[in-house]
């Protein structure tokens, strides 16, 4: 009995290690090849690099306009996520506290709209905002992310705010606090774990999004990281060392953040799915 149990454990372990390699190896291969010359890669993509040559990195970062695209991605992600979080929490709050027919309908509409695929909206979206000259700016994109991201965030917050007892707010109200003060001083701090979940889900989405920014941001100087990676690959399609270095520099910042926030991210995804 004990022998077979130990054996089972061994087998499980080996299977997991094999899977682990499958998930991580692609990243290692890209890293290895990013340090090599083009000819070295073609003759053997599995070999260790002959020298530790960072030339590909500098060249890739310059050609992708890396620093600039990185900043664009950062600004867009930070503002969109902050605004989605605050506005959605406020909206969910009013939906719970003012139970009018209109609010019930609006809440239902937001939840139902989550089933609409982006592809069913993108053509008219580009037409409408193009015709009023509202494309080609980060701020337009941030505005759109609020519209697209609000439904899920309102839905998740709604479930939680329902469980907050009214008494907590009534005490503050007697002290003469306004609705806004009550919300930001009493309610919003109580929502913190959920806010973390919403921040994580939205950062993963907005940082990596491609289709919407590709439609909205047409000028090269407005490009986000996924967009500049895309155009970079289109331009230097055979210079493998350079391309791999381009991938590494876009992946590394994410991995660094992940190393420190891994627990929160996974916890956030777990919580997000329970709603």
């Amino acid at each position: 009995m004990n022998v077979s149990k130990a054996l089972m454990k061994m087998v499980r372990y080996i299977v997991l290690v094999i899977f682990f390699c499958l998930y991580i190896l692609p990243f290692i291969l890209v890293l290895l090849n990013s340090l090599k010359e083009r000819t070295e890669i073609i003759s053997n993509p599995l070999s260790m690099p002959k020298s530790f040559n960072l030339a590909n990195y500098f060249s890739a970062m310059e050609k992708m306009n890396f620093a600039h695209s990185f900043m664009n991605s950062l600004i867009i992600t930070v503002f969109s996520v902050a605004l989605i979080t605050i506005f959605s929490a406020m909206t969910a709050y009013v939906f719970v506290r003012i139970q009018s027919k209109l609010n019930k309908f609006l809440f239902f509409l937001m939840v139902a709209s989550m089933i609409i695929p982006f592809q069913a909206i993108m053509i008219p979206l580009v037409q409408i905002y193009g015709s009023i000259g509202f494309l080609n700016s980060k701020w337009a994109l941030i505005y759109m992310y609020i519209g697209f991201g609000a439904s899920l965030a309102v839905f998740i917050y709604h479930g939680l705010i329902k469980s907050i007892p009214l008494e907590l707010e009534e005490a503050a109200m007697i002290d003469g606090a306004s609705r806004l003060q009550i919300f930001f001083q009493v309610v919003f701090p109580l929502l913190k774990p959920t806010t973390m979940t919403i921040v994580i889900l939205n950062v993963l989405w907005i940082w990596n999004d491609f289709l919407l920014p590709s439609l909205v941001l047409i000028k090269p100087e407005e490009r986000t990281l996924p967009l500049s990676t895309f155009y970079f690959f289109g331009t230097y399609s055979v210079d493998y060392g350079l391309l791999m270095a381009g991938l590494v520099v876009t992946i590394i910042p994410v991995i660094i953040v992940y190393l420190f926030t891994q627990r929160y991210i996974i916890q956030g995804v777990m919580n997000g799915s329970n709603k």
Binding site: V94, F95, P117, I123, P124, A150, V154, F183, V254, M270
Partner: protein, 293 residues
Amino acid sequence: MSSQKFFDRLKVQLLFSGPTLFAFFTVVILPFLYGIYLTFTNWDGVSTSHSFVGMKNYLAVLDDAAFWTSMYKTMKYVLLTVILINVVGFFLAYMLTTEIRAKNLFRAGFFTPNLIGGIILGFLWQFIFSNVLVYIGEHFKIGIFSSSWLADPDKAFWTLVIVTTWQYSGYMMVIYIAGLMNIPKELLEAASIDGANAFVRLRKIILPLMVPSFIVCVFLSLQRGFMVYDLNIALTNGGPYKSTQLVSMYVYQKAFLSQKYGAGQAEAFVLFLIVAIVTLIQVYMSKKREVEA
């Protein structure tokens, strides 16, 4: 209600929900409704005027064989990826909720692809399929890898399925782990004492109790499958010979490259209907199987 109170309430309502609702209506609802209107016109994206053409665009959708080919491939892709993502995701979650060391390391590793966008993952795997695997195939004389999978229509389709499974299974794994951890331990112990082996426990206790997690995961993988675009464009770019052009990419090309906005929007709307029907059926069917612990 006094009018004073009414205005107070209106003020709160507008202050709290105004910004969100304004963005939501102008970004989601308005384009959605305007999109339905567009499907009845012949707008080409450039001219300032367009005329009403009735059902012509929808009839054209029915006649557009390339659209249905692409829809059929998307369906096949969605079916395969939903099954594979969830089987692999559940399997990993099951393994990681047993007694084993370095759980967190494994979990973090399997989740990693979800942090990175489809464009970057697509290019990464393009390199692997067209360089690394071809090298391995030639060097070690493994026939199946000796020519690039991306150059063969059938195999290129499978590269999309494989990479999608690799990409999302770690995400579903996390959701399944959360579900598995919620199963009461006493229940499993009691079953063990009654002589149920691991397989029986899995079939009779774990799987029925995991239905809510399956609903969420199947829903998420269905949605992602139908909407896939970045991975498609970065990994295969629809090729070879447009053989792997999934519906999202097809609609994009129709509208923005061929400038057939009305027709493209009609196809996008058909896509919406199909996604809505499939997801509603899925949620309805699986809700019926839900049980309480």
